[in-house]
Symmetry: C2
Subunit: 209 residues, 2 copies
DNA sequence: GAAATGTTGTACTGGCAGTACAACATAGGA
DNA sequence: TCCTATGTTGTACTGCCAGTACAACATTTC
């Protein structure tokens, strides 16, 4: 069932926009057949129905993200620099595949209930962050935080939600610029924070105007 | 249609767990009827079918969040302090209503396609953040960032995703402790950032060990 | 050239959302 | 008290659509 011929695979992407727009429920198998040009019987021959279509499309997206992020993360730089690269990589892929991203978010519930996808989601999005955070503490480029798990989850949320919003509202014309803009904003946020440079209780002053 | 009698409303909450568990699609109207004790015909008398049930439940949750956050934000403190309060308020409500949160995330696509809910989502989650960020710049408690819209979106994502994860995995026994833990982690992240205190290019050193 | 594998049209089945409606309950104003 | 509004509920029905069955046809492979 993972042997889908390349031609069919490429045609199937034609269903992404449909699903993104109306959700999987709002999309009839016959619509998918018509939009992709693949006859209904053929879809059922290769895939496990509607869910199978979604699983195929999203599986592809997640593999892509996991791959790009993986590359970004395997350099010799310090963890902080690699975190920046990972953010850029994730946003880059998301912005380049707005329909798939919208389909993913729209049918998140279903996706997480599709066994393979739940794990793929985790390994594409959350795990790399978690790893970088702990490596950053080791190499001194990132701060030690009180609750690494919770922080990793938040960072993951910051990146992913920003990516989704970029994918949804993105000016399809200049995708890479959008990605760069969001990427910079997120790094600014998660690396330097939003507080003006005074400590929590105003005990010390870090910088002087 | 917004006049649902209190008794029915309270019974309806019995459907939240069901929907959270299986998604709205995996949940038959007859299941909802049985779980809540409200006969199918009565559900249809008051609500617009399945989507109506979801809209009612989520509408309630979003009102609740918007309300609590609204209170947290209307003090005389500086924006930074109110941001911390807002984070705590949002997480508090989410952790207290894990089933509703899970239903929300599971059927996000549907939710955003339900006209009223899309706006309610925005005003419960995103808008308060955006406002606080700009007020923080005005009162000097938060930094000016290059792209406030993108940053607000990321902050919103950080809070919301962390909240969802807390709601999903939360040790239902000690909800408020979970909320406090996540709240601290998020504030640490979005206020102070993750970078060790050196500037981007190592030109200056903010603090001395 | 024959067997295996893939492709596709057509026709059918079963499940479930939503509807129709009649019978019954309750409230509250005259 | 009786009469009318409004709400409540059981039952039976309709229509849509996912998924299946299967036979006919095509392509590959050896």
């Amino acid at each position: 069932m993972r042997k889908l011929p390349a031609k069919l695979a490429s045609q199937l992407y034609g269903a992404a926009e449909l699903i993104a727009e109306r959700g999987l429920d709002g999309t009839k198998i016959d619509d998918i057949a018509e939009a992709t040009g693949i006859p209904k019987a053929t879809i059922y021959y290769h895939l496990d129905g509607k869910n199978g279509v979604l699983a195929f499309l999203l599986g592809d997206l997640l593999d892509l993200i996991a791959g790009e992020v993986g590359v970004a993360v395997s350099t010799e730089e310090d963890a902080r620099t690699r975190l920046e690269a990972a953010v850029a990589a994730q946003l880059g892929v998301m912005v380049e595949h707005p329909f798939l991203c919208r389909a993913l978010v729209g049918d998140l519930g279903r996706a997480t209930r599709l066994p393979d996808l739940a794990e793929a989601l985790r390994s594409a999005f959350y795990q790399p962050i978690e790893k970088l955070l702990s490596e950053g503490v080791a190499d001194g480029s990132l701060r030690q935080v009180a609750d690494p798990g919770a922080v990793a989850m938040s960072v993951f949320g910051a990146i992913t939600v920003a990516g989704l919003s970029a994918a949804v509202e993105g000016s399809s014309t200049e995708a890479s610029a959008d990605a760069a803009r969001f990427s910079a904003a997120i790094c600014e946020l998660i690396l330097d924070g939003l507080a003006t440079r005074r400590t929590r209780d105003d005990h010390e002053s870090g910088e002087r105007p």
